[in-house]
């Protein structure tokens, strides 16, 4: 199984409509790929909030409108913030039937007010256990951060280091939401508190954007990237339904399975795209993925081991924090970045000699976790 084409739009506050964003990403992926649109056998489209935010559901048929006369089998996939990777996971299984599949993810968030978006994003939590208590999404992860700090002595300064690194990386990514924005340690430290201990710079932005990936059963060109691991695991939707609050069990389960499929260990990874919807989750991801032991992620960050020049670069595109988080597109944007790096096409943010990469995409506060492992060995 191969990634044979990738494409995305810029992320940020954009004027394009949801269909226009979907089309741009599909066009770019087909353009990047040796496969013509007529050779695509099926399409998966991932999106989270098209219903409440844009009053647009039945997205599979919207995609059909964008591909006139093809009348392909198209299905929408929704698993909150993990929708993109979940669509890819489904598509990989469907390769048993189709030679080439297009996966496109999209989110249009800027038309809703911040309050509406807070409520809409809350739908990724349990209606009675979480939403009714006013547990907005930053608050879910604020509890994780608070627990992590209490258990391991992680500090807010460690979170600031994650935010700063990701903002620095996004300056090297022209498609990133914050590619234009210079951010200082002081700005991050002094930002307004959203849900203690998390402040504004611990949170990913509300972005518009789309990303698309073409996958194929057989190799099509030398730029292809091999998919060696694909796994999805789930868990109780509410943190309060679980006993463990400093890690996400679903991510541990899915990553273990993905490593087994790929026949690698965490030590083999050259780059990782981690789901830093909130800074704390990048630290939790490092521990759940087995990159470091529980409680040690803070030390890795302090030693700058996760920077582009470090020995375990994480979120070279800026991550969800600074590349942006157009929810339905996020998982596919992670695949876009890993494939770009493995192809050696990442320009100023290129990690030298990257051969094995992993994407870590989380829905809600770990109710869904999807892991993909991509390889391109020289």
């Amino acid at each position: 199984m191969y990634v044979t084409g990738i494409g995305r739009t810029k992320f940020g506050v954009l004027t394009e409509t949801m269909p226009e964003l979907i089309y741009q990403a599909m066009y770019n992926a087909i353009n990047d790929s040796p496969i013509a649109i007529e050779e695509i056998g099926a399409v998966y489209v991932s999106n989270f909030l098209g219903g409440p935010s844009e009053k647009q559901l039945h997205l599979n048929s919207v995609v059909s409108s964008l591909l006139p006369e093809l009348r392909l089998p198209i299905i929408r996939v929704e698993t909150a913030c993990a929708s993109g990777s979940s669509a890819l996971f489904q598509a990989i299984i469907a390769l048993s039937r189709f030679e080439n599949i297009l996966i496109v993810g999209v989110e249009k968030m800027s038309n809703a007010t911040t309050e509406e978006s807070s409520q809409n994003l809350g739908m990724a939590g349990d209606r009675t256990a979480d939403q009714m208590q006013g547990l907005i999404f930053p608050a879910h992860y604020a509890l994780v951060a608070q627990q992590h700090m209490q258990e391991y002595g992680t500090t807010h300064e460690d979170l600031e280091l994650v935010s700063f690194k990701n903002h620095c990386n996004s300056r090297l990514n022209p498609l990133a939401h914050f590619s234009h924005k210079d951010v200082s340690r002081e700005m991050i430290k002094n930002a307004a508190v959203i849900a203690s201990p998390l402040n504004l710079f611990d949170c990913s932005p509300m972005s518009d954007g789309a990303a698309a990936v073409v996958i194929s059963k057989n190799k099509k060109s030398d730029r292809d990237v091999t998919i060696t691991g694909s796994a999805l695991a789930t868990d109780h939707i509410s943190l309060s339904h679980r006993k463990e609050h400093t890690s996400l069990e679903a991510a541990k389960v899915a990553s273990r399975e993905a490593y087994e499929l790929a026949g690698i260990t965490p030590g083999d990874l050259d780059i990782v795209e981690a789901h830093d919807c909130f800074t704390i989750n990048e630290l939790v991801a490092m521990e759940d993925l087995g990159i470091c032991k529980p409680g040690e992620s803070k030390d890795w960050v302090r030693e700058e081991r996760t920077a582009i020049k470090g020995d375990m670069p994480i979120n070279t595109d800026g991550g969800l924090k600074a590349d942006g988080h157009p929810i339905g597109a996020t998982g596919l944007a992670q695949v876009f970045e890993v494939a770009t790096q493995l192809r050696g096409e990442a320009g100023k943010r290129q990690v030298d000699g990257a051969e094995i990469g992993l994407t870590h995409n989380i829905g809600g506060v770990g109710g869904t976790a999807v892991i993909h492992i991509l390889e391109r060995r020289s």
Binding site: P19, E20, Y23, M26, Y27, A36, I37, L67, P68, E69
Partner: protein
């Protein structure tokens, strides 16, 4: 709207620009007329479509492409109807509107006129002030429009410092500060510069329109066209008839109000018209209530927002309007009606005297 690939002739109903099949350019197919092929009359309301009944028509254009269009009038099968004008060209008639004064109100009016498709001439004594107003409009439009459409709209606005450039305007709207002599002076000049059939309008909120119309050789050409701040968002326009205003001028103002997607209400030339007469008595009363010391400013505002469902409390609103402006309007009302209920209350007079004018000075009923 329909878009077609110049290479492989596939069709889209979205502005996709490039063809995913052949990489050809995808251009809009402009149709000029449509035939009614089907219709349904909708009898039950839904959010966004509360006025019933209405019809949804299935239309076919001359190239065989279909579209759905909402209409409040009945149509017959086979009936030919004009193509819906593009968003950017939605205009019943091509009008040229001159706007004198480029403050918040003037630039707001200029923005909606240009968005409606009118040609707009923005006039300010200092061209750099007009240029600033244009930047303000640019910023406001950037929030919701694509670059291309925004540039098209901005392209319809011309800025100048010369009143004589408005000679071909169909409508001149004056949006200067509330100064009778200044306004009269401008209208005298406009009377000389503009065509004989130009309609004159004033955005005054408190001055006598009848007196103002004396500046014109034919006072029948002046009508009151009172917009509300922020102009692009507020639906209301007060159309004011002075003692001399002609029916033609009122009719013209009404047509323009509808084209600008505003709802007009009509009133005679009496101080405060409708909105300000009611509002200022209300604000004055709120200030007086505050002065008796039994309720905090926060509580008075909370009572009005939650109890009367106003979007903003009277004291916060007074601070936003400016306490000097509030007092000036009350003075005009008091002078006009000679009724003590319009007399600015003691607190208001004291605060204006102290220079605490609300938001603009950093302190009014609240600190900013």
């Amino acid at each position: 709207m329909v878009y077609e690939c110049e290479g492989c002739h596939k069709h889209w109903y979205y502005d996709v620009k490039k063809c995913i099949f052949c990489q050809g350019d995808v251009k809009e197919v402009e149709s000029s007329k449509s035939t009614v092929r089907g219709f349904t009359r909708i009898e039950i309301p839904s959010p966004g479509h509360t006025r019933v009944p209405y019809c949804d028509l299935l239309l076919e254009d001359e190239y065989g492409n279909f579209e759905i269009r909402k209409s409040f009038s009945d149509h017959e099968l086979g009936e030919l109807i004009e193509a819906e004008p593009k968003e950017s060209k939605k205009v019943a008639k091509s009008r040229t509107v001159g706007i004198v004064g480029t403050g918040i109100m003037g630039s707001g009016i200029a923005q909606i006129c240009a968005q409606t498709g009118y040609h707009v001439i923005m006039i300010d004594r200092h061209e750099d002030i007009a240029r600033k107003a244009l930047t303000r409009i640019d910023k406001a439009l950037s929030k919701t429009l694509k670059e291309e459409l925004k540039q098209e709209i901005l392209g319809r606005i011309k800025i100048t410092a010369n009143l004589y450039e408005s000679e071909h305007a169909d409508l001149m709207i004056e949006a200067l500060t509330e100064d009778m002599e200044l306004k009269k002076e401008v209208f005298r000049e406009l009377d000389n510069e503009c065509n004989v059939d130009t309609i004159f309008a004033s955005n005054t909120s408190s001055l006598s329109l009848t007196e103002l119309s004396q500046a014109l050789k034919d006072p029948g050409r002046l009508v009151g066209l009172h917009f509300f701040n922020p102009v692009p968002r507020m639906k209301l326009v007060e159309i004011i008839r002075s003692k001399h205003t002609s029916d033609a001028a009122v009719e013209y103002a009404k047509e323009v109000a509808f084209e600008l997607d505003k709802t007009p209400v009509f009133t005679g030339d009496a101080p405060g018209f409708i909105v300000n007469r009611l509002l200022l008595v209300f604000l004055n009363e709120a200030m007086d209530k505050h002065a008796d010391g039994t309720s905090t400013a926060e509580d008075i505002d909370k009572a009005v927002t939650l109890g009367l469902n106003h979007p903003m409390g009277p004291l916060a609103l007074s601070d936003l309007i400016g306490l000097d402006v509030c007092k000036a309007i009350l003075d005009v009302l008091y002078e006009g009606y000679k009724d003590p209920k319009y007399k600015p209350c003691k607190t208001l007079c004291e605060m204006v005297e102290k220079g605490n004018l609300g938001r603009k000075t950093g302190e009014g009923f609240y600190k900013y």
